[in-house]
Subunit: 388 residues, 4 copies
């Protein structure tokens, strides 16, 4: 590949997002029934490769249970509203009903309430009691504190997650860095870590013994990292880079780990593209925030929003379009890729001749930017009733 | 060409759409009268290379007859409303009059009615009685069922068409795959098959003995394959790839087959570009859905819409702008490329110095994206009365 | 340069428009007073390199006279309304006052009136009487008919112009092609010919002995060639290609000819870019259609509009912003590049350190697309009062 | 890098803007407290690398004092309203209260008033009296006149600034060119010069002995150089080119000079990107024009606007969002990157594992254009209440 430069002396390369790629059908097709979309993570097998994001607008104990019963996985944020409030419904209602101008301050106020350790245990138990795998998310700096509590309460899979998680974190106090290798060895349940976006970091994280890595920085619908911090890597490239690291790691060590694309998938087609770029599964927020069961009540917001000094998530109104079951398994009553996500994955695979997720990772991908052209923007504008 | 990568280990290439290319005039021009736009398909000769899509909003027996009398071809969908209802007018009216929110469900209901074999024969006969070639479309899985009925009723050309049709389809039941080679040998009339988008698949389909291939996945105005399935290849690249396969096939075997670009052509300029990229003819939907004779009554919708579990077409209001004759042969009373499509092809060829469609396939094409710039979008916005 | 392909077997290259490039200042600047923008065409010297387009909305005898007195050149269309009507004011008013839906038909009706040979002579004389160079435009097929009349009436420079003019035109009747070499030798005044967009065609046209070539197909504000015919080449690339041909021709033969960029220049910055890409002068329509003296009365329309069967120009409302003198020589009272065009050229040259137009052709040009980003479009949308 | 061409014989290269790049996190993160964002300019040390632009809407004596007390630097324009009017408040109010159509003429009138030498001295003294470093800006042609006055009044750092400043300026009168080397040697205080955008010009300017160079032509929010003059270089490329020149100069001579990115930074993420491209500090206008202390009163305008013959800046309404302290140091109550700019720089550095600004200049940058896609534009349009 020809070297590219930002300017003299500053090499760079092009990274691609979902809107810039498309999947290419070939000579073989198959019936949808022949497509296997099941996904395994450290011995847990799921009917489909869609995980609900550890976001307060998406997962509470009830929606986690529904996700599990449908065959998927919902991850509870152990440092969100669910563990700060005995009755999170009030806090959630406050987020949903405030106006745009006061939203950030409302969030800052609500998340100033401390996490209660008792609620950490209680929420995990509530999920377990529904007969599904309990999965929970903690930040790296508090993993050693809340992780063991969660395991004790019956947590099955732990997500150690922050905006960016690498192999080394320098702390101002000098003391509380997480030793991920040691943590994985002692915590007793599979650990998924993230987020990362590069080949090198993926390799280093995999070497600590994690069961999977979360790939994605900056692309989420409710994320403003890119405008606030200038940071972000378009998903198609990030997934391909990290998936290659995972393949190389497996070839070298014999250990299998999962690449989970996290963020930036708005419609089913985006999920199909993530899988084709090399993801084993996807973690999605906004598409599931539209569910009747979603705690956000028709709203979705980023988990970096409540920062007291530098909020960098936003709230978007997503509306409510159906049950989790309708959104995941259909039947769809809309034609825009927001319903029957699993059916769409299967249909895409059938159309592309891929019978397994592994085969889906090998389909041809072309660069086909869906750029806005003059014609399109005004056709659509008129369709939406803008203008005369 | 320098190798391009989505990310490490994931090679890709750039594919181009009509909005990204433009045709380059050279040193020779000619009078429009010297341009021959006639098109031949397995012995049938047409006055111009425009085929009306097998879509319920575009072709019924009456509009197929008008297409034929004008010198073109209209293809009737044998699995659409025309063969499900004795009186399709009522169903068509229901589609046209429902609102956007109920549209998908109305379609799902209307297409749940079974196809009547008697109507398959009847519709073909109705077209034949008008003295024109009857052409009809069936899906691969039902080609063996409805194809012979159509032939018996007098069908002249059969289109075997689905979103993606390759040389191999694996069926869940294991039994009903179409053997295309055998089908072409026995059906007794020319078969056109599609849709495909790659060189390899084109070669394989051509080897079965088809008279032509339909090129295009995902670009249509009423198609949402790209957002639902992530699948699609921009048309300019797809046409060039498949046209090369067709040339190579002809050079190797001596057999001629036609490349028919299907979908994504909104204005006459798009049709000219399709021909310059290598298409022998084009199949268009939305531009003809604007005709007074079009059964859609000012609406146009995709044929994947009525899927009961995963609808992936949409309905767009195209309005009614004139007769089929005015749209195809002019005179145009608009300046936007939606009227006198045949005249536009001839004028483009005359301006480019191409006296035949074969010469048109050799004109120079440059990459010239009609990207939206700041200036343009707001000029046009003001023109449309958006804003103050 | 790496080879680019539309698709397999179809080579292409990237062409660039004004919105995709920008000029780079270097180490030297100068005072505006030191910049010489004078332009010579076959012995005629003009104070600045801006020519008013031969369009009915831009040039009549009066505005041609004002252009000449200011130091520029206006070209009268000898086949437009001015030579079809003794009193063109009425026809012009009809164009200005019709509504968008009837505009094409009004144009078709008005231009159905035949050209009167007596008016051809009369209009030229009217311009001459004002003491300025009379320049006029004819189409190639009628150049032999109207050209000599114009010369006899005192025309100083003849523009032989159509959408695309090459070295060879094949006529259906077989007889009336223009032999450009012979025409240039016998007509007795300098001939400018166009439009063309490629190196090869430029070389061939120059070899006929023309004084200049018009470069530009498809970019004009009132031109819809690209959507109707699929034809057009972005201006920056077209100018650079044709300018190189002109340089090569001059080096080989010792004859100097001028490259005149025609169309697609909306603001002064576009004119500066045209010069930097290699143009010796520019021909502009819409920027001058805003003048009080412009016959269009605040409207601008393409000269391909009145085609009886395939209109391919449109009418845009440009408004009236000042006198020709204000638009060309300032002072500007707007900050958007639409006033004081000559002052802007000089200031651009001064800032870039170019003291002559020849030096301006050597300044550095970078690819810097002014793509619409999310931020920009909505900032501007709010500025324009779109949305809440 | 493969050679790129505008057209035959016209080489070019691609230049990138902030909207086209993004920063890539790696394996190391750190706590925000460990990030040092201090910045030194010729012995003056500042707590953060943000300088307020020498624009009348941004800096007066009072806001310069606040900037200094917060740890930054504000630069007063010595040829703006502050030195033309004893009481600039009235003139500022007139700019803020005029309407868009009269704005340019109001500006032309207000800036026609001559600069008073007594006010040059007085304003500098007013800043000094607040106990902060006084910094002021003059144009090259008047640097010899106002520079010594400013120094005498106690000015600490002098900015010699115009749209484009190179090493050589040819003057029409032949006499008053600034000899920058001599000026730097004799003026007695550090000189920052600009603006420039290329490697060669940077090297030449640095050789004169300046303390820093301002990088940026054309990108500012209130700048219309690109549409009026066709001139401008996207910031990411300009910064990288000039930063390399600065590094080479330092390596060769041992002298350190600062690269200050000037213009086009709208949100904190843009500032982070400027630093990652190689800037030592940034000069920003519109983000600080939103401060309560900003003299623009909620408006921001370019300093090239009042040109009597060729205005090329515009006025934008930015509103007022908080104090300078809130905008610079937080806490932020918005999530869009417009508040807590210093906190955002630190958080970006912490996330990217850069503990100093030098390390920040080494982070990985990818090309990741935030192009407008169909989906995005209409999501956002609906969010803003455009359309139904």
């Amino acid at each position: 590949m020809a070297e590219m430069l930002i300017g003299k002396g500053k090499p760079t390369r092009r990274a691609y997002g979902f809107d810039e790629i498309s999947l290419v059908p070939g000579s073989r097709t198959m019936d949808v029934e022949l497509c296997d979309v099941s996904f395994e993570l450290s011995g847990y097998r799921f009917a489909f490769p869609i995980i609900a994001s550890a976001m307060d607008s998406v997962v509470d104990c009830q929606s986690a249970a529904v996700m599990g019963k449908l065959g998927g996985l919902g991850v509870l944020n152990l440092q969100g509203l669910q563990t700060r409030y005995d009755n999170p419904a009030e806090a959630l209602a406050e987020v949903a009903h405030c106006d745009n101008s006061s939203f950030v301050e409302v969030m800052q106020k609500l998340y100033a309430q401390p996490v209660k350790e008792s609620l950490v245990s209680k929420r995990i138990e509530e999920i377990k009691q529904q007969g599904v795998v309990a999965a929970a998310s903690v930040t790296p700096n508090l993993a050693s504190k809340y992780g063991p509590l969660a395991v004790e309460a019956g947590c099955g899979i732990l997500f150690v997650q922050s905006t960016v998680t690498g192999i080394e974190h320098r702390s101002a106090s000098g003391g509380n860095e997480l030793n991920l290798t040691k943590f994985c060895q002692t915590i007793g349940i599979p650990v998924v870590v993230g987020n990362c976006v590069t080949y090198d970091t993926s390799l280093q994280l995999l070497a600590t013994g994690v069961a999977g890595i979360l790939v994605g920085v900056g692309p989420g619908a409710a994320c403003t990292s890119r405008s606030v911090l200038g940071i972000g890597v378009p998903m198609a490239t990030a997934i391909a880079d990290c998936a290659l690291a995972c393949n190389h790691y497996e070839r070298k060590t014999g250990h299998t780990a999962q690449v989970i694309a996290d963020g930036g998938m708005v419609v089913a087609g985006d999920i199909c593209k993530a899988l084709a770029c090399g993801a084993d599964a996807v973690m999605v927020g906004s598409p599931l925030a539209r569910a009747l069961e979603a705690p956000g009540g028709g709203f979705h917001w980023g988990m970096a929003t409540p920062s007291p000094v530098l909020p960098r998530g936003t709230r978007i109104r997503v509306g409510t379009s159906g049950t989790l079951e309708q959104i995941l398994l259909g039947p769809a009553h809309s034609d825009d890729g927001t319903q029957n996500l699993v059916g769409a994955i299967k249909t895409s695979m059938a159309t592309l001749g891929a019978s397994t997720l592994k085969e889906m990772q090998e389909v041809e991908v072309v660069l086909a930017p869906s750029i806005l052209t003059e014609g399109k923007v005004f056709q659509k504008a008129q369709h939406l009733g803008m203008g005369r």
